[in-house]
Subunit: 276 residues, 4 copies
């Protein structure tokens, strides 16, 4: 993980942890659940805030990883999210989206059914095992890159499950990248199945958002290769009067960007939960 | 103040305060200092975080009010900023900018010298009286509307004093509003003094920003009458490679917007201080 | 032809030909082939470079004419293309697209099947009769106006046949011109068959381009009535990350523009062939 | 030089040279001239076309290098320009612009007077020593990056000397880069001397172009950090009706881009000379 963040910044983060936070009080579980859909065990990280042991019910932020990563990537690369769970008093769940699921139910491969896995298998299991607010108003979902796409995709298709969603550097339009990151293995090639690529691109799903249903926060770095698609999504949401926070920051498609971005996304969701 | 925030949201805020924050630990001073420049006493609110009494040195966020308001407006309208000072462990100072100073040294009226007052009289006084980090890296400045203009204006002209600056719904270009909010009383009329209006508009001051000198965060509501000038400032900063966070949110020119925005601005400055 | 180019420039071209090129060494054939699809003989101009007689295999650039012209128009109006064939050592084939075929297979008139004619009848015949590189990597296609549309249209639909394509002042979106240049005779009227007009407009076919499959060069004059549709195509290709050269030049929809443009298009294809 | 171009492309270039060009006939001189202005000898590369020895008068393209390079960089990195000089029958002169002159006469350092050196010392020397067309219509100037800026800068300020000018990936607006590439050492810092930075940025010099005086060709890669400033220059020239060719290509700020771009720039100048 250390190579993902500049050592200087890591040191600054460590200083912050050591001096402002005597201990990491948050508890981190690795939860293994059996997916009946995909016939295998799948892990997830669950971060519980310090106060969890004292009782109460807690809102949950589902936090998705990017292409080529796994469920443990977020907490290993940005351990400060444990601190933020404590400060904001919320649960963070990091599902596994496999190397390249894009969080679809693949129409061409039964072994890649991650939309159904998260929404039908993981969320109920989390609600069963933990003291969560068992209502859409107590659930948010966000992620980076492939996970930014995934978070908006799942929230828009499952507004019964989520009341807030975010994206960091998200691949919110898949069509400009027909040959990248295994998307064609999940959907079939773009030139043969253009309708499928459109139907699964967030930017073409905005009409599915019920007015006022989702609190949305979308950000991207100015020098990210996903910059153009995020600006296009913002323009479309503006035109369609879909309320959303939109942030452009300095930075590229890397962990320096996401380690900073997640602090604001979690604050956004915390504010959002507090308006319930 | 109550009329500024919808009662429903106010209730939610109160609930938040009562249940998540057993006590407001932050200490709030009203500091009166004599301005030699303007020959009068001027008040400021100073919010000290809970840990202040335990020693140490603290960074300071100067938080400017808008047109027609005064130094006490922020803390009275959004008392939650006391909580945020606690959580982020920083001092908040709310200067008085008078009814309509625009934080200029007026070239036409010696009684309106608020740029000099804040930079030459107030900041040294704060550093003298309180346990602050007495360095530009420990100071940020932000504000709303007239105060958003003021914060960027003062930071750009006084990069020796500030290392971070923000604007919420700021009047970052004065020229489209030649007849509003007493600006012409401070600068002379736009048709007679166009150069003066340009020289005092933030959007025409960007060349003064030394590379890498200022951490900048600029936000505005989509339905704000200052929306266009903020987008224009963003576009110019993008073109000029001046690093900055830029946020467009739902909302208008009102306290619902600012009560939300300030939580993110303070987090931004806290992150910025932690990179020192 | 003489009226198409200003006499001054023509004189300059002639001088150029006389003094820098003592003889036109290129050989120009008029090839007549029988189209089984349209039951008639159709002519094409074939320009062979000077070195052709010495053996070897040569790449081919198919060069399409515009509305109201015919196969012999290019070589008669811009005879300098013979010189360029010599210099760049490639074959130029100028097919006949009839007065107003738009290079479609018309869905409403069996007598207009120029897509099939060129791709199924002409290209095989050229490869049979001449020493060509019999592979997509040895074939490019370009044209002007109706022929710019035609070249991109045929290349996108037949990426098995072409590896490079260009357009000069091309009609790359047909829909803004519902009543012009006999398009409605080929497709049916726009108000009755909007889907057909979209499906046959190049700007709506970009999803069919396989990643990295086509080297593309698109140009247009600033004062051309096709300027807007070409800029729109460029913007879409930029957004979709489809690599292409895009050139805006001074000029209108006339032979001054095309006599200049073709020199750069041929150099582009020559560079492209040399990368094989 | 080999590291500047991918080895695969280099191999393709080598193949091209070996098979299509039996010998490099062009003659390459290294010309050393004494600069009275800067009190030192300065080298330049001079490429003479194969036919030079047969007599006649030849047009000259001045070809400028980028930041951190020198006079020999172009011919060493892209030796194919010798072949192009042969084909197009023109002289190429590569002046030395030192590590970071930006081709200014520096107002703050007498040792950096490269505008005067090139226009008052080098051009006359070239015309004295070689069989050139001794007229503005026989001179063009272009370059890459710092040299793209330099070429447009010198042509606009010296329209008596040049009739054509180009820029590849040029730094045509200096102001967005106040801390880069030693510009501030040449001009003084941007925050202190904004007028000087504007006066020396090509984008602010367009009003100096006499109508019809300069044939202009400007290109940039889509992924170049100078992309934005080149698009801004194009937009301004379009608005001001200043005729120019503008090309956006795939690519970044590197020699793969420039080795391709120079072939088109030289063809453009050759076409331009042939219109004399």
């Amino acid at each position: 993980m250390n190579s993902d963040i500049s050592s200087k910044k890591l040191f600054a983060l460590l200083l912050l942890l050591v001096f402002t936070l005597p201990v990491f009080a948050a508890r981190v579980d690795t939860l293994s659940t059996y997916s009946g859909l995909m016939k295998k065990n799948i892990n997830a990280v669950v971060i519980l805030p310090e106060q969890y042991s004292k009782g109460g019910q807690y809102p949950v932020v589902y936090l998705l990883h990017g292409y080529s990563d796994r469920y443990s990537k977020w907490v290993n690369t940005v351990p400060a999210i444990k601190n933020q769970a404590d400060r904001l008093n919320l649960i963070i769940v990091c599902p596994d989206g496999n190397y390249s699921s894009w969080y679809f139910d693949s129409p061409v491969d039964q072994k890649w059914q991650y939309e159904s896995y998260i929404t039908k298998e993981l969320v109920p299991e989390i609600d069963k095992r933990y003291k969560t607010i068992k209502d859409r108003k107590g659930r948010a979902i966000t992620g980076l890159s492939m996970g930014g796409h995934g978070a908006l995709y799942l929230a828009i298709k499952h507004q019964d499950l989520f009341a807030a969603a975010g994206s960091m550097s998200g691949g919110v339009d898949l069509r400009p990248f027909p040959d990248s990151w295994s998307i064609k293995e999940r959907l079939g090639s773009y030139d043969q199945f253009p309708d499928r690529w459109s139907a699964n691109s967030v930017i073409e799903m905005t009409h599915l958002i019920k007015p006022g249903s989702l609190a949305l926060v979308i950000d991207c770095g100015r020098d990210d290769f996903f910059y153009r698609v995020n600006v296009a999504l913002h323009d479309k949401l503006m035109y369609q009067n879909v309320a959303h926070d939109f942030i452009i920051r300095p930075g590229e498609h890397n962990w320096d960007y996401w380690a900073n971005s997640i602090t604001f996304q979690l604050l956004y969701f915390s504010n959002s939960f507090n308006k319930i």
